[in-house]
Amino acid sequence: MTVFSLNETLLLAVLLFVVGLAGILVRRNLLFMLMSLDIMLNAAALVFVAAGAKWHDASGQVMFLMILALAAVETAVGLAVILRLHASGRPTLDADSGNLLRG
């Protein structure tokens, strides 16, 4: 038996996910949206590891590794897009101004 029951871990993951979702919905700065996305990915990965711990299966941690790779790629591409937006002379990182892209 682990320190956390599955229900408690699910509660923690849901709270983290809700905080990340609120961050994505509320904040308009692209950097903060990426950070909120990372929090949400972490919550999902936590559920995988908790399920793997409950059923004594290593597959949960394999999925954790996959989510880690996904998060690394997502962050790298997102930050490259942010740098690109900034390099094209955009004064703000507001996500809602992304529909003004030209070319």
Binding site: F4, M35, G60, L68
Partner: protein, 165 residues
């Protein structure tokens, strides 16, 4: 031991809440690092030491360094000294430092009291590796495709284009 996990969980939720309410991006990155460290504690207490180590190394290490680099490259407007004094005020780092010191005390306490008994069952890195390169080997290949795609995409997007101000 349950209280240790509960403290880590509270710190992670508090840190995540502070991340989305900060106004300066660097402060949010500090809180995000604390959140990830607390989540690593939770993972270790759940019996997944390999996942906890990877969380610290890759998430709190590599990905956060990416964030810090980008923030450094974005804030080139104001003079350096003003920004440094703004960042180095105690109000900026005392919150993350307090949360991180709670985590550190938890780690010391755990090392002292739980070193012999430990966590009763763990999924060791050996089992994870056997599973990763046994039934999931196709997924590893797909993940390598994903990483290569991300590399090419980041290189292509971040390239300097001629004829641009």
């Amino acid at each position: 031991m349950h209280i240790l996990a509960l403290t880590s969980a509270c710190i992670s939720i508090l840190g995540a809440f502070m991340v989305i309410t900060r106004r300066v991006a660097v402060h949010a990155v500090l809180y995000l690092v604390v959140t990830l460290l607390a989540l690593a504690c939770v993972l270790a207490l759940l019996g997944a030491p390999f996942a906890a180590a990877l969380e610290v190394i890759i998430y709190a290490g590599a990905i956060m360094v990416l964030f810090v680099f980008v923030i450094m490259m974005l804030n080139l407007g104001k003079p350096d000294r003003d920004r440094e004094t703004e960042w180095l005020r105690p109000r900026a780092w005392v919150g993350p430092a307090a949360l991180a010191s709670i985590l550190g005390m938890e780690l010391l306490f755990g090392l002292r009291t739980l070193s012999g008994t430990g966590i009763t069952f763990q999924i060791t890195p050996r089992e994870v590796g056997l599973s990763l390169f046994g039934p999931y080997v196709l997924m590893v290949e797909l993940a390598s495709f994903l990483l290569l795609t991300g590399l090419v995409t980041a290189f292509h997007i971040g390239r300097h284009w001629p004829g641009e101000h």
